[in-house]
């Protein structure tokens, strides 16, 4: 197990290298640079800026310099925000983005699993239909539609919650719900399907025939087994939460870092693009690892060696 863990962690290194190299090449192959403007800048200014940021060096030199700085924890300068470094920008927003992601994840798990379980236990009953309806709507509704709907209903019409910002719990509610909508639906759907499958297993029948009450059967025998397939989708869902936050942050003006990814690409702010890509690559690689380890914990049949 330890050997497996070490191997998996070591694997992340070449993955990050590949991601950084591909991003770097893609980014520089897109036409247009950071100093292209509707009002063109004088050639001398562009030349100065290129020299200042080392953009006139050959690409391999630029890459090596970037990678070297990264190893010392320096993410480099931002071209657009000239008196701030990428480190400053990331440090300012990462906490907010992480908080939004974690809250949405918890909400999704805490609502999605019970919803799926209730639906399965009352299959073809009213709760089942209600839960299925919620899942279908949740899966079919993109987060920006849900976001706008929530703002119009709860902020503009009812004036219960703020339309934007991140100042305190009342401002957290709508972005969290908007981001969690799709994961709630997915988790509920998987939980329901998996619970239904487990219900027909021999060991469940045995448990019932032993005379155990439903509550004991469900909690002791069914839940843990039923959750294994659910855990498998947590990885992709976490990736969704990371990427989906771009849109939710934009619509609710949440001061996270997601927006800088989009803006960075538009502005050709190379340092910012590289930093954001690497950050997301690390997050996704680590989350994948955690989810894989979680399987082993939940499902004794899985053994890593």
């Amino acid at each position: 197990m330890t050997g497996y863990l070490i191997r998996r962690v070591l694997w992340i290194v070449p993955v990050l290298f590949a991601v950084s190299l591909i991003t770097f090449l893609l980014m520089h192959s897109v036409p247009g640079g950071p100093w292209d403007r509707e009002k063109p800048l004088p050639a001398s200014v562009v030349q100065r800026l290129n020299a200042e940021y080392g953009l006139d060096d050959p690409l391999p030199v630029q890459y090596v310099r970037w990678a070297g700085a990264l190893l010392t924890g320096d993410l480099g300068p931002s071209y657009r925000f000239r008196d701030r470094s990428v480190n400053d920008i990331v440090a300012d927003g990462i906490g907010t983005t992480a908080q939004l992601g974690v809250m949405a994840f918890l909400l999704a798990v805490l609502l999605g699993i019970p919803l799926g379980m209730i639906a399965a236990l009352r299959q073809n009953g009213l709760p089942d239909y209600a839960a299925t309806l919620i899942s279908i709507v949740g899966i079919a509704t993109p987060s920006f539609v849900l976001s706008i709907l929530l703002v119009v209903v709860f902020s503009v019409t009812l004036r219960l919650l703020p339309t934007h910002g991140w100042d305190g719990p009342s401002a957290w509610v709508l972005p969290t719900v908007a981001l969690a909508g799709y994961p709630i639906a997915q988790i509920a759907r998987y939980t329901r399907a998996s619970m239904l499958e487990v219900t027909r297993k021999d060991y469940v029948r045995t448990a019932y025939s032993k005379g155990l009450r439903e509550r004991a059967v469900v909690t002791v025998h069914m839940t843990r087994n039923a959750l294994i397939p659910v855990v498998t989708i947590l990885g992709p869902l976490l990736a969704y939460l990371v990427t989906g936050s771009f849109i939710v942050e934009l619509i609710f003006s949440v001061p996270g870092i997601g927006r800088f990814y989009v803006d960075g690409i538009e502005e050709r702010d190379y340092g910012l693009i590289m930093a954001m890509t690497m950050l997301y690559a690390v997050i996704i690689a680590v989350l994948n690892l955690v989810v894989d380890l979680l399987y082993a914990y939940i499902d004794p049949q899985i053994r890593y060696s």
């Binding site: 998996r8 694997w11 992340i12 993955v15 590949a18 991003t23 893609l26 897109v30 036409p31 247009g32 292209d36 403007r37 509707e38 009002k39 063109p40 050639a43 001398s44 200014v45 030349q47 100065r48 800026l49 020299a51 200042e52 925000f81 000239r82 008196d83 701030r84 300012d92 993109p142 706008i148 703002v151 119009v152 503009v156 004036r159 339309t163 934007h164 910002g165 998996s194 397939p229 989708i233 992709p236 869902l237 990736a239 990427t243 989906g244 771009f246 849109i247 934009l250 003006s253 001061p255 927006r259 989009v262 690409i265 538009e266 997301y280 690559a281 690689a285 894989d292 399987y295 899985i302």
Partner: protein, 599 residues
């Protein structure tokens, strides 16, 4: 939807990130990795505008004519009793790139800097130059030297504002090591061109740059006198001295670590920086050391709201006091009896235009001015403004916009399909073609819903009125600017917005000295520009600019479409707004006169 391309690139990058991770046990469930969906609305850029209003009109350009929205152009003037809390709440279309006056370039930064700084010269309500930090000034006889007398004024930290601070900030703007985007506005100052036109292949040593900076014609004979020597007469130069980049800077402050952060910021304007939560919000309060009438507002709160639809919702939920109406919502809001009364129609000094490629002398448009006339006269700009822009613009025939001396409402090639067809025939002969079907023309633009609809409208006009099929190609923003600068399309979308309110900024700075992407050069035009620059008397100066403008219309290197405008919703309790054509948010040049009425 200017985010479109970025989303695609981003999705690709993330796919790389997710796909590369090795997975131990293949998941039993078929989970889906969701790629980000497109952003719902056009991003409000807040940049020195690349499109008049980055929104998406809902109507099809070729649909039935829409009656333009009727809204007042003057804000309400009645002032009622003041509210207890004097706070003006505004939205910012994004994080300001910097509050360093030398380096700032976007309108959203400039809006804040207009509150935090004050240059030598300022404007009155009609954009005439009036004393700012200079109490008075004198121009010598041949117009090459301006002597400014500074008034007694202090920075927000209590230090006096001295002439040496102007010498420092003006040289800093020209210092190539700062690489300031607006350095070009100094080009008339003696010694400036040596710095602006430095050999770009060999970057000189610091000592060489310092020597050049010493030669720049700015000096401070004493603490209250600032003298500018000009390389050549530039009658518009006082307008340049109103720009935020010319504000005084204390060297010790601006060179210190974290100078532009709240708490450190040294302000020379009516307000000072109180808080700045990066990417979230920023607030200003009155500068206690301000020399003028103290502002009535106790606080101006800016909240970063990038999405224009989100900003509109914030306004509807009464969280902000003003918002630009996205073009998708103009019709709806105009029809809403309650909101309609809060609407203000505004004009922004700048114009939307399409430029012909004249760089290659063998190109059809370079060979034939008649063809350029034909393509211009075939476009019904009035319908374009009423449908695609929903009335949020003014049809333009030339460059200098309404409100700027030199503006000519009646100059411009008319919409005349009949005449256009005649010109087309002449043009085909000039270009050595026999039939319109031989014309191979592509129009290029930077992608946004607005530009797509505009280009579709233009194609339809050229097809209907000239019988010419024009191809179109949309590129993502920076790719497009790169392409336009280096390898332009036959016809290219472009825009110009004002830096300083003077005819020279709409004529000479755009089309002068062969610097334009179209490749347009005209000795006659350039000579009119330099004549006008030497003419201090407006009576003699303005006709020269008008003559140049008429020449430009006749030469037709570009199709002028419209002067920018828009609609803004303003809460009725916002009082005392003074609207000018340089505004990002209405009234921003005079927020020190605004107050909040009881509500």
């Amino acid at each position: 939807m200017r985010h479109h391309r970025s989303w695609t690139v981003m999705a690709a990058l993330l796919l790389v990130a997710t796909a590369c991770g090795p997975t131990a046990a293949p998941p039993t469930g078929g989970g889906r990795t969701a790629a980000p969906t497109g952003a719902p609305t056009g991003g409000a850029s807040g940049e020195v505008p690349t499109d008049g209003a980055s929104g998406a009109p809902s109507g099809e350009p070729s649909g039935p004519p829409v009656t333009a929205c009727e809204a007042p152009t003057e804000p309400q003037t009645a002032e009622g009793p003041l509210a207890g809390e004097q706070t003006l709440r505004l939205s910012l279309g994004g994080e300001p790139e910097t509050l360093d006056p030398t380096l700032a370039f976007s309108l959203r930064s400039v809006e804040i800097l207009r509150q935090l700084t004050r240059p030598l010269v300022y404007f009155d309500e009609e954009l005439n130059t009036v004393p700012g930090l200079a109490e008075d000034w004198e121009v010598n006889e041949d117009g090459t030297q301006i002597t400014f007398d500074l008034r007694d004024a202090n920075y927000s930290n209590g230090d006096p504002i001295v002439a040496g601070d102007f010498v420092y900030s003006w040289k800093r703007l020209l210092d190539p090591r700062e690489a300031a985007e607006y350095a070009y506005v100094m080009s008339d100052v003696a010694g400036a061109s040596a710095l602006l036109e430095l050999d770009t292949d060999a970057l000189p040593e610091d000592a060489a740059i310092d020597a050049l900076l010493d030669e720049v014609g700015v000096s401070a004979p004493d603490e209250d006198t600032f003298v500018v020597e000009l390389a050549q007469p530039a009658s518009y130069f006082l307008s340049v001295a109103t720009l935020w980049v010319t504000a005084p800077l204390q060297q010790e402050w601006i060179e210190s670590e974290g100078a532009t952060e709240a708490g450190n910021y040294v302000s020379s304007g009516p307000f000072q920086l109180e808080t700045w939560e990066h990417n979230a919000s920023l607030s200003l309060g009155p500068n206690p050391e301000w020399y003028g009438e103290p502002p009535k507002l106790e606080r101006i709160e800016f909240t970063v709201i990038e999405d224009e639809q989100a900003a509109l919702n914030a306004y509807l939920a009464d969280e902000i006091d003003m918002v630009g109406v996205p073009s998708t919502d103009i019709a709806r809001i105009c029809a809403d009896p309650a909101l309609q009364t809060e609407m203000l129609s505004t004009a922004t000094a700048g114009f939307e235009y399409y430029g012909f490629n004249l760089n290659d002398p063998e190109g059809v448009f370079a060979k034939s001015p008649s063809l350029r006339h034909a393509f211009t006269m075939a476009v019904d700009k009035k319908t374009l403004v009423d449908t695609v822009r929903q009335g949020a613009a003014t049809v333009a025939g030339s460059a200098v916009p309404p409100g700027i001396p030199g503006h000519q409402a009646d100059v411009g090639l008319p919409f005349d399909p009949e005449g256009a067809r005649q010109k087309l025939q002449e043009g085909l002969t000039e270009a050595g073609l026999t039939d319109a079907s031989e014309l191979q023309v592509t129009v290029g633009y930077n992608e946004s819903t607005l530009h797509e609809q505009t280009v579709a409208f233009l194609q339809e006009q050229w097809r209907t009125n000239l019988g010419v099929e024009v191809q179109s190609e949309g590129l993502e923003e920076n790719s497009y600017y790169d392409r336009r600068a280096n390898d332009p399309f036959d016809i290219n979308r472009a825009s110009w917005t004002q830096d300083y309110p003077h005819a020279n900024n709409f004529l000479g700075d755009v089309f002068g000295e062969g610097s334009h992407f179209t490749g347009y050069t005209s000795e006659e035009f350039d000579s009119l520009m330099s004549q006008a620059a030497t003419e201090a008397d407006p009576e003699a100066q303005i006709p020269l600019y008008q003559q140049a403008q008429e020449l430009l219309v006749e030469d037709a290197p570009v199709i002028f479409l419209y002067w920018y405008g828009g609609y803004t919703l303003i809460k009725p309790h916002v009082q005392g707004l003074v609207v000018t054509t340089t505004d990002e948010d209405p009234g921003m040049m005079f927020f020190d006169r605004v107050s909040i009425g009881e509500h």
